[in-house]
């Protein structure tokens, strides 16, 4: 997946996660800024899930800013997918 523009998905509501995606130059790697209200308990799991998601979409160069308000794994997966597809301009009916 080729990222074209900045995009975001999710919210600051409880049980949600806000994920902001920004394309970076090739070779910059994955720059992930993660904040979570359950960082101590689930920070490693959350980071692994994000990296697994990026692997799935074959994205190696990206900047992600993640603010987690206690989201469950399906919410994290959904918000990551939405943010990435918006950034890749693959989805219709979305914020550009």
């Amino acid at each position: 997946m080729k990222l074209i523009t900045k995009a975001q998905a999710g919210s600051f509501e409880s049980s949600d996660v806000l994920i902001m995606v920004e394309p970076v130059v090739e070779g910059a790697g994955r720059i992930i800024e993660l904040k979570s209200i359950v960082m101590q308990q689930f920070g490693d799991d959350l980071l692994k899930q994000i990296n697994d998601g990026l692997d799935f979409y074959e994205i190696n160069d990206v900047r992600l800013i993640i603010n987690d308000k206690g989201a469950l794994p399906p919410t994290i997966s959904a918000r990551l997918e939405t943010a990435l597809k918006r950034a890749a301009q693959l989805q219709t009916g979305t914020l550009k």
Binding site: A9, D16, L72, A78, R79, T94
Partner: protein, 285 residues
């Protein structure tokens, strides 16, 4: 049936704990236009992850002629929730076209056509006029419902909350559902603070023949369940009628009296329906 906004993770993950018989995960009116993609993706992931045990799960998709409807179907149909709810259906051609799309998606995924049901929403004057033809189109349509707010708007009603303007539509839709032997659900009651008004409306639509009512807040569940659950007195009376029917049937008597009132086949049928709604096993009587 409790509506849950499709872009609200907290409500989606807690949906089954509120005590509603069914959940309506909503991708349509409860979702802002610029969040349609996010809601669709969130509901898809939730359906794969969350067990909504004890609740029938229905997903309301956007109309197929909107920019979102087809993609909703492509993502949700392969997940086979208990039912798909189709909003604003107006004509026979339209329901035929939508069900064809659903079944094409199922064919592509190697899924059968007889597992996921289809609920049709009637929300326009044209839909009301065509409701019977729409409802009988396919055996997988197992429920129809009235969308009161959209119907009131389509009818250009200024005041809609008293139900007067949509009364004819309610009755027409109930009659079509009964003719097709399928369930029929009433529209939402939007004044969440008004418990008495909700009860009054629920009692009215139960008398009309509705199977249940859509709700928009967990606070409304208790009232609607109370109205639609048979009382102990109703259950005892129904049991007495069914037992008397079995006794009389063995003696070849078709019409008899219970507590001074005539009982014949239709009365027995209604008593059986009460016992069914109360989950009473007739064999155990």
């Amino acid at each position: 049936m409790l509506y849950i906004p499709g872009n609200n993770p907290a409500m989606l993950q807690q949906g089954s704990v509120y005590g509603a018989d069914g959940l309506l995960l909503d991708l349509e009116d409860a979702v802002a236009l610029n969040q349609k993609d996010a809601a669709r993706t969130l509901v898809s992931h939730m359906l794969k992850y969350i067990s909504y045990e004890g609740c029938e799960v229905t997903v309301r998709v956007n109309h197929i002629d909107t920019p979102f409807g087809l993609e909703d179907l492509k993502q949700i149909v392969p997940l086979q929730p208990n039912a798909i709810r189709l909003p604003k259906v107006e004509t026979l051609d339209e329901i035929e076209r939508i069900i064809n799309v659903i079944e094409q998606i199922e064919d592509e995924c190697g899924l059968p056509h007889d597992v996921m049901n289809v609920h049709v929403m009637i929300e326009t004057a044209l839909g009301v006029q065509n409701v019977y033809d729409i409802a009988k189109y396919s055996s997988r349509i197992d429920a129809i419902s009235i969308g009161g707010q959209d119907l009131a708007a389509d009818m250009q009603l200024v005041k809609a909350n008293d139900g007067v303007g949509i009364d004819y539509a309610r009755k027409q839709i109930v009659m079509a559902a009964k003719a097709c032997k399928i369930d029929v659900f009433d529209t939402v009651y939007v004044d969440v603070e008004n418990e008495d008004g909700l009860r009054e409306e629920a009692e009215y639509i139960k008398k009309l023949g509705f199977t249940g009512k859509a709700i928009i807040n967990p606070r409304q569940i208790e009232v609607v369940n109370e109205v639609f659950t048979p009382t102990d007195l109703e259950i005892r009376k129904a049991a007495k009628i069914v037992k008397a029917f079995e006794r009389n049937k063995a003696e070849g008597i078709g019409v008899f009296a219970v507590d001074g009132k005539m009982v014949d086949a239709p009365v027995v049928q209604r008593a059986l329906r009460v016992l069914e709604m109360a989950d009473v096993d007739v064999e155990s009587l």
